[in-house]
Structures are given as C-alpha cells and as structure tokens.
C-alpha cells in the first residue's frame, strides 16, 4: 500500500515498479468503480442519468489524485 522508498537497491526497484504500476491501476479503477456505482444508485433514485456522469468524473479525479498522492510525490 504505502510505498516504502527508503531502502531498496536497483534490483528491487524493478519489482517495486511492478507493484506501483498495478497499485496505480487499481486506484484509478476502484475510484471510477466506487463513485460510478454510487452515482448510478443516486441516479436510479432520482430517475436521472446525470449523477452517473458526476460520479464517474469525481471517481476518476479522486483516483488520479490518489495515484499522485501515493506514487507521484518526490
């Protein structure tokens, strides 16, 4: 989860890279998934399709933000 960037040499950084790549992928996918589903449910309740769109966009933004927060900062 939280990448540990303190003590890995070059051999290990490749593996870390693999985990980071899948971690980033997972965050974006689950962002869209969670808030898309929430938006869909709200939309069904309100009988409107707008909340799905809002949910998907919010989820995507939040997922990308988390990727930056976890992996993108120096």
């Amino acid at each position: 989860m939280l990448p540990d960037r303190t003590d890995h040499g070059s051999a290990e950084s490749g593996r870390k890279g693999e985990q980071d790549a899948w971690g980033a992928f997972g965050l974006v996918v689950s962002g869209v998934l969670v808030w898309g589903v929430v938006g869909g449910l709200v939309g069904r309740w309100l009988d409107s399709s707008l909340p799905v769109l809002v949910g998907l966009l919010v989820g995507m933004t939040a997922g990308l933000y988390l990727v930056w927060f976890r992996y993108g900062r120096a």
């Binding site: 593996r15 985990q19 997972g26 689950s30 962002g31 998934l33 969670v34 808030w35």
Partner: protein, 260 residues
C-alpha cells in the same frame, strides 16, 4: 483471417470459449481440468517428496533439483519482496508458485494440452486465499482499526476529502487486488490456449481441407508458428506463475510494513 477462411468454406469453425468446456470423463462429473489438478498436485508432491526423502550434506540430483526450485522461491521472491520476515511465508509462496506453474505448464504437455488455470475458479480461489492472508497479517500486525486506518486514511490529506478517498482505497485493496491477480492469470492462460488452438486447427484446416498452393504454404507457416508459440507459451506460463506469487509476496510485505 477467420472471416476470410469462413468465406472460402463454411467448414472451418474457429476455436472459442466452447473449447474450454469439457464433458465429464466417462459420463461422470469428473472433467479434464479436474484430472489435471489431481495429477499436477501429485507430481509436485512426489517431486518434493523424492527431493527431500534422504537429504544429504552433499545433495544428489533430485535433492539438488528440489533445493534449487525451492531456493528460487525463497530467495528471488520471498526474501527479495518481503525481506527477512519473508522466510515465514516461503512455504505458502512456494506452494502457490509450483501449483500455478505446473497447472499452467499442462497447457503445452502433449495429450493434456490444457492449462487448468484458464478455468477462472482456480485462480480466483488462489487470489482469495492470498487476499485473506495479507489482510490477516496486516490486521494481526496493527489491530483491526489500525490496519484499516492505515489503509484508508493516509496522513496529509484534508479531512473532508477522506469521504471521497477512503472508499476508493478500501475497494482497491480488498476487491481490485485479488480481482487483478485472478484475471491476469486466467486471461493470460485463456488467451494463450486460444492462440495455440487457432494456429494448430487453422493450420490443419489449411493443409487438409483448403488445399492448393495457398493452403499448403500458409498452413505450413501456421503449423510452424504454432511450434514457436508453444515455446512462447511455456515462457508466459512460468512468468505468470512468478508474477502471481511475486505480487502475493509484495502484498504480504506491504501489510507487514505499513505503519502510520
């Protein structure tokens, strides 16, 4: 290529998901993938039994093979990905690696030629086991609340934003991780088997039924391609077993490290 073949003649049926469904052997419930699981488990058990039976200070051939295989998982996966604490998890990781690798390799063993791991139930169950293990380790290490707090509430984010971010972190760890483990293995094996089937069946059709100079030349190319792809599949099958085990180890390592 498929549509072109179909246009030429209606007799070629391209391989598809149906080729992954088997009738029970002798009309029973027992199917070919089940047989492969049983045989694969026996092969692994017998191999390691023979390797460890009479361990000597100077290892014999079997012992050397067994120790090299086990040592690979121990050093290149457990110790590298987890660190010193990884030693505790070598038995699980080794079991995982050899089970997946052998079931994958059955995809290119003559007469069997079906990777049992392309049936989604097997990778799914293995992924669920890995998921339960790394979460249990994290919970044991930091307590129930502490583990989920570290997972869902990384420090340094405004409080209000947590409402949006925490569910994402939760889903990505609990649901997406095992799902990607499972799908990556299943679909790699599924696609690999499908490609091999297409090359072999298509080549056979071109050589035998389509005929003519075009059929014979392109059929020969396809059959030759199927041999090359078989070697490529062997590589993919071992690689996917390695990736599944390595990611399981990295998740375990992450659960051990997490502290906030």
């Amino acid at each position: 290529m498929n549509t072109w073949l179909l246009a030429a003649s209606e007799t070629f049926t391209p391989p598809g998901p149906r080729d992954f469904e088997f009738p029970g052997i002798g009309g029973s419930f027992f199917t070919k993938p089940m047989l492969i699981i049983v045989l694969g488990t026996l092969i692994i058990a017998v191999f390691f039994y023979l390797a460890a039976r009479s361990a000597q200070r100077v290892p014999g051939k079997m012992q050397f093979a067994g120790e090299s295989a086990y040592g690979f998982v121990r050093n290149s996966i457990a110790l590298d990905a987890i660190g010193k604490e990884g030693i505790k998890y070598v038995p699980y990781l080794a079991t995982l690696f050899f089970f997946i690798a052998v079931l994958n390799i059955f995809g290119i063993i003559p007469f069997f030629q079906f990777p049992a791991t392309s049936k989604i139930a097997i990778p799914l169950f293995l992924a669920v086991i890995s998921c339960v293990i790394f979460n249990a380790i994290g919970i044991k290490r930091m307590g129930f609340g502490g583990y989920f707090k570290a997972m869902m509430f990384p420090p340094g984010i405004p409080k209000l934003v947590y409402v949006i971010l925490a569910p994402i972190e939760f889903v990505s760890t609990i649901l997406i991780r095992p799902l990607t483990l499972c799908l990556r293995l299943t679909l790699n094996m599924f696609a690999g088997h499908l490609v091999l089937l297409l090359f072999v069946l298509g080549g056979e059709y071109l050589l035998r039924d389509y005929g003519g100079a075009v059929g014979i030349v392109s059929g020969a190319v396809a059959i030759f391609g199927s041999i090359v792809l078989t070697f490529f599949e062997a590589f993919v099958q071992l690689l996917q077993a390695y990736v599944f085990t390595l990611l399981s180890a990295l998740y375990i390592g992450g659960a051990l490290l997490e502290e906030h």
